[in-house]
């Protein structure tokens, strides 16, 4: 299972890539593998202000729908519209294909997430 260095990870298998006061959010390789062939992605609305752990997107395979939760609080400033036409991009490369870009509202929350090393350990032990 691929884990990329330099990202923050949540226990719900989302990743966060911080760029200054903004961040990209996506799902991990484990998450896409677990879901199987992704056929639909529901994107959030721009300007939605969301709390940490609130559902902001949904990723669906033929068989199942999975909510994607905010790993940190923030305002949606951009969504990855390419996923509307080609949801399978999340299977192909889940770290390159982010779901939403957010304006972080509380950078301290990043401390509560896992590093790539911690997430690798989490996958090995908990899952």
């Amino acid at each position: 299972m691929k884990v990329v260095k330099g990202l923050y990870y949540s226990k719900d298998h989302e990743w966060v890539k911080v760029e200054g006061e903004e961040a990209l959010i996506g799902i991990t390789d484990y998450a896409q593998e677990h879901l199987g062939d992704i056929v639909y992605v529901e994107l959030p609305e721009i300007d939605d202000e969301l709390e940490k752990e609130e559902a902001f997107s949904a990723v669906e395979s033929v068989k199942a729908a999975a909510d994607v939760f905010m790993p940190v609080s923030g305002k949606i400033i951009e969504v990855n519209e390419a996923l509307e036409d080609d949801p399978a991009l999340l299977n192909t490369d889940p770290y390159e294909n982010w779901i939403a870009k957010v304006q972080l509202s509380n950078k301290d929350e990043l401390e509560e997430l896992m590093s790539s090393e911690e997430y690798e350990k989490f996958l090995a032990e908990e899952v």
Binding site: G36, D37, V39, Y40, A58, E60, V62, K63, D67
Partner: protein
């Protein structure tokens, strides 16, 4: 209670099947992936383990009138070695189960029932024996079954037997068919909307049959198929699944399956009186097909609205692997079931626009 294993369990593990629990059985939901397996059945050939299905034998002098009394379809219309699809209903019209009835002769019938309902069905049948001169036996534990489905199913299976399969017509059966040395019963039936056969034998023989078919089908691109695509295939082909399109609460008339309920049948059958009454009074709700106009995927249990009023719910919904569209079946108030009617589906607290379409999704 631990989930039961079919005789093919070890084969599923060897093939990398993703095992889940379904109706009390450990079965693969998929091997390689739902979509490639679905496509193999639509375009070539696929093989399913359906050993979890139940088999109940009814034998004796009164077998024909007894089976006919239990079933909504007219069992007297079929000949020896013919199969018929039917419902078995409660007096109130709700469904005990939907099943296939195999007629060997007028004193010997073989019922193939849903795995989740075997015990309930067996008890139900026993409880109605009354004065009928019949013997009833639940032989589910001794029968292994596979379904070979797809346009290349006959070609694949023909490689393994001397029986001329082209002579077995749709919904006909043949016993004592030898498949790679194993004595089987086969019928030209299935649950996918494609041509194909269901193959029955004992628990030992079925392992050989399974492996022989996979080997014989290699040149045609055969794939072992899991429960995942079994559901998408049957859904696209408008075939009901017990507990969804029909159930104890949803009668077959509401499901749109009146063709299999012979209200005009001369003899009495369980549920006839109440189903006749309901039909004559007009149905309050009916099953309809729908397609989303806006983006989203409708899932089982999602609610349907019209002008803010709740009018029913989704019984099955998918992003159809064959049609690449978000479609579903919904049980809704009859007045909204006309083709073209616009309704809304509640998806994650949002109303998503949909329109009623024919539930014959596959145009074949």
């Amino acid at each position: 209670m631990a989930a039961k294993k079919t005789p093919l369990y070890d084969e599923h593990v060897k093939l990398g099947g993703n095992i889940v629990e379904y109706a009390g059985w450990s079965l693969p939901v998929q091997y390689e992936g739902l979509i490639p397996e679905h496509e193999a059945v639509r375009n070539a050939v696929g093989l399913f383990d359906v050993s979890h299905m139940g088999e109940i034998v009814i034998k004796g002098k009164d077998a024909l009138p007894f089976v006919d009394y239990l079933m909504t379809n007219d069992i007297t219309t079929i000949e020896d070695n013919q199969v018929i699809y039917t419902f078995m209903c409660y007096p109130h019209g709700g469904v005990v189960d939907d099943l296939l009835v195999y007629r060997f002769n007028n004193e010997h019938f073989y019922l193939v029932v849903n795995a989740a309902n075997v015990d309930k069905d067996y008890d139900w049948i026993l409880s109605h024996k009354g004065d009928f001169d019949v013997e009833i036996e639940n032989i589910s534990e001794t029968v292994g079954e596979v379904a070979i489905q797809g346009p290349l199913a006959e070609k694949t299976l023909q490689k393994l037997t001397d029986t001329d399969l082209s002579q077995i017509k749709f919904f006909r059966l043949q016993r004592d068919v030898v498949i790679d040395g194993v004595n089987c019963m086969i019928s030209r039936t299935g649950y996918t909307g494609e041509d194909g056969f269901e193959v029955y034998t004992d628990n030992e023989g079925i392992v050989k049959v399974w492996n022989s078919i996979l080997e014989a089908g290699k040149e045609f691109g055969i794939k072992p198929c899991g429960l995942g695509c079994r559901d998408t295939l049957r859904f696209e082909a408008s075939l009901p699944l017990y507990g969804h399109e029909i159930s104890e609460e949803v009668n077959p008339l509401e499901g749109g399956f009146k063709y299999f309920v012979k209200l005009e049948k001369k003899s009495d059958f369980i549920g006839k009186e109440e189903l006749t009454k309901k039909w004559e009074a007009g149905l309050e709700r009916k099953l309809a097909g729908f397609e989303l106009i806006e983006r989203g995927i409708p899932r089982e249990g999602y609610e349907i609205f019209k002008d803010g009023e709740k009018i029913g719910y989704v019984t099955t919904g998918y992003m159809s692997p064959t049609l690449k569209k978000s479609i579903g079946n919904a049980l809704i108030k009859t007045e909204y079931t006309n083709l073209g009617t616009e309704v809304d589906v509640m998806i994650r607290k949002k109303l998503v626009k949909a329109k009623i379409i024919s539930k014959k999704f596959l145009k074949k």
